[in-house]
């Protein structure tokens, strides 16, 4: 099988959790290289848990996760970064006492030769960060922090970017800005897998949507199909 036909991420029957208790009870997820995948679902459905399982932050007890055909479950995060994954956590997503520029540099820790070129690209992509490059990231607003966090993850030139609720707690203005940026990052050839509370807006930009409930897939389809599905709308999108 040639690598072009392999999905970017292929997770089958993933079980996992913390301390022996399973939160994920058999999740399936397939995403192609140029797609945006969005995970939605009620609180406690295991959305963020699934994202963490993909990024090696949570022990997978059963099942398999393949990145470009290679098994990656339970690899440590720094190896996953090396293999082209970037992760933006929901909370504590910057180094508060480091300057904006130092935050970004840390993203390219494994690829120091990239720093100069990538910094220029990130500043072009998020112009507000250039003006604040010498400020400690802890002093920025929530939206700007999210930009720093995404910029940091992009510094390593990932092929897959994992975003955990990137718009949580942001004003509608910033929310739209972040969704626009996600679309642009994807257009540049980066696969996106994101967890979102703003399900309608997120599914609107999704190639694939995964509706989770109780640690299992409830609905899996294209974003548009899920938005149009009356069952999904009734149970998960607030009517």
């Amino acid at each position: 099988m040639s690598s072009t036909t392999r999905p970017l991420i292929d997770a089958q029957d993933v079980h996992g959790g913390y301390g022996g208790m399973n939160i994920l009870n058999g999740v399936n997820m397939t995403l192609e290289a140029d797609e945006v995948g969005v995970i939605v679902g009620p609180n406690g459905a295991g959305k963020s848990t699934m994202l963490k399982a993909v990024f090696g932050l949570l022990h997978v007890n059963q099942g398999e996760i393949l990145l470009n055909g290679q098994p990656i479950q339970n690899l440590p995060p720094n190896q996953l970064v090396q293999r082209g994954m970037g992760f933006v956590p929901q909370e504590k997503n910057v180094f508060p006492s480091l300057s904006v520029q130092e935050n970004l540099e840390m993203g390219a820790f494994l690829k120091p030769q990239n720093v100069k070129r990538m910094l220029a690209q990130i500043y072009e992509f998020f112009p507000p960060l250039y003006e604040k490059r010498r400020q400690p990231a802890g002093e920025l607003s929530g939206g700007q922090r999210q930009m720093v966090a995404m910029g940091r993850a992009l510094m390593a030139e990932p092929s897959l970017l994992l975003l955990d609720e990137p718009t949580a707690g942001l004003s509608p203005l910033y929310m739209n800005e972040i969704f626009d940026r996600v679309k642009q990052i994807n257009a540049a050839g980066v696969g996106i897998l994101m967890v979102e509370q703003n399900a309608k807006q997120a599914l609107a930009i999704a190639d694939k949507g995964f509706v989770l409930a109780a640690g299992q897939n409830r609905f899996t389809d294209t974003g548009a199909a899920l938005l149009a599905d009356p069952d999904v709308a009734k149970s998960f999108l607030g009517g």
Partner: protein, 334 residues
């Protein structure tokens, strides 16, 4: 005028000497805390170990420095720094790493470090004996007397050769540390890990490497501090008893986890000590004529006797913990 000279000799020079030593020790304590989140009580014994390595090397090659015109002990310092750095990494591998792997609470590591203290002290005593020994084995301790260019200044400012080395080495160490933390890739990663260890890992930073680098730096700095103290006075196997409290007081005064705070804290503690044991009578004596007759100055006006010097950092420590537990630079609360 002579009173001023007396003040410079007994407070300014003496305070900077202890301040530098405490500062360099406290930086190590604070770095270890910021990366591994525990108070490393064996740090003062790593300082003694470093000084002991210098003593061993100097005794082995007493004439090595003469050809270069520096005291042999100073020449041996870089080698002792390497050995102490290796010791620190080794101690971490044998004692602390297995504990961390079990995910123990920080207090377990603290108690473990007390055990390491006893091991190190015992080992050093075993080989060095219990008495004091000068690091100037074959060299002569130069003493510089600088006469002040003022009329009436009869007494000179006295600086010894090791004190001059101490000031130079302290400045070099602080500047090097600053450049490392702010300019180098590993130094920035160290600050990043101190800020947010999970995110550091998620950025691809190998946290084991950072831990090892932290021990190397802390070990090398401990060797510097221990050697500078032993050069100024003498090497003793129980040096750590007199260092542990001041360096922890300095780290906490500066705000735990802040390298610059630890440096400031070191000088605060160092100067507080010397000011507390300074005999203020000397500065008041010139004005004794203008004082009312009923007020007779006692001959000793020091706050505490020299033998109680160690209570000063203890008092500072208690005061800081009561009134400002985060320290001057808003560090973490131990």
């Amino acid at each position: 005028m002579n009173e001023l000279v007396f003040f410079i000799n007994n407070v300014v020079i003496s305070g900077s000497v202890s301040g530098s030593i405490y500062a360099i020790g406290a930086v190590g304590v604070t770095l270890i805390f910021s990366i591994m989140r525990f108070a490393h009580f064996a740090h003062a014994d790593m300082m003694t170990f470093g000084a002991f390595m210098v003593l061993l090397l100097t005794t082995a090659f007493p004439a090595a420095g003469a050809s270069l015109g520096v005291p042999t002990a100073v020449l041996m310092l870089p080698l002792a720094m390497l050995l102490t750095a290796a010791l620190a990494v080794g101690i971490d591998k044998i004692f602390y790493k297995p504990l961390r792997a079990h995910g123990v609470k920080p207090i377990v590591l603290v108690i473990g470090s007390l055990g390491v203290t006893l091991i190190l002290q015992g080992l050093i005593r075993l080989f060095s004996g219990t008495g004091g020994q000068s690091l100037y084995v074959d060299d002569r301790k130069e003493i510089f007397r600088l006469a002040l260019p003022f009329e009436g200044a009869r007494a000179p400012v006295v600086v010894t050769e090791p004190q001059i080395y101490l000031f130079v080495i302290t400045i070099v160490a602080v500047v090097a540390l600053h450049l490392f933390l702010n300019r180098s890739r590993l130094g920035k990663a160290m600050r990043a890990m101190s800020d947010n260890p999970e995110l550091a890992q998620a950025s691809g930073i190998n946290t084991n490497t950072i831990v090892a680098v932290t021990w190397m730096i802390a070990g090398a700095l401990a060797a510097i501090a221990g050697t500078l103290l032993s050069l100024d006075v003498t090497f003793k196997p129980d040096l750590s008893f007199f260092l542990l409290l001041p360096i922890f007081a300095a780290a906490i005064v500066g705000g735990v986890g802040h390298p610059y705070g630890a440096i400031a804290g070191g000088f605060v503690v160092g100067f507080a000590e010397t000011l507390a044991v300074f005999n203020w009578n000397v500065l008041l004596r010139p004005f004794s004529d203008s004082l009312p007759a009923w007020l007779e100055l006692p001959s000793n006006l020091a706050f505490v006797g020299t033998e109680y010097k160690i209570v000063v950092p203890f008092f500072i420590l208690v005061a800081i913990l009561v009134w400002r537990p985060t320290g001057l630079f808003k560090g973490k609360v131990i």
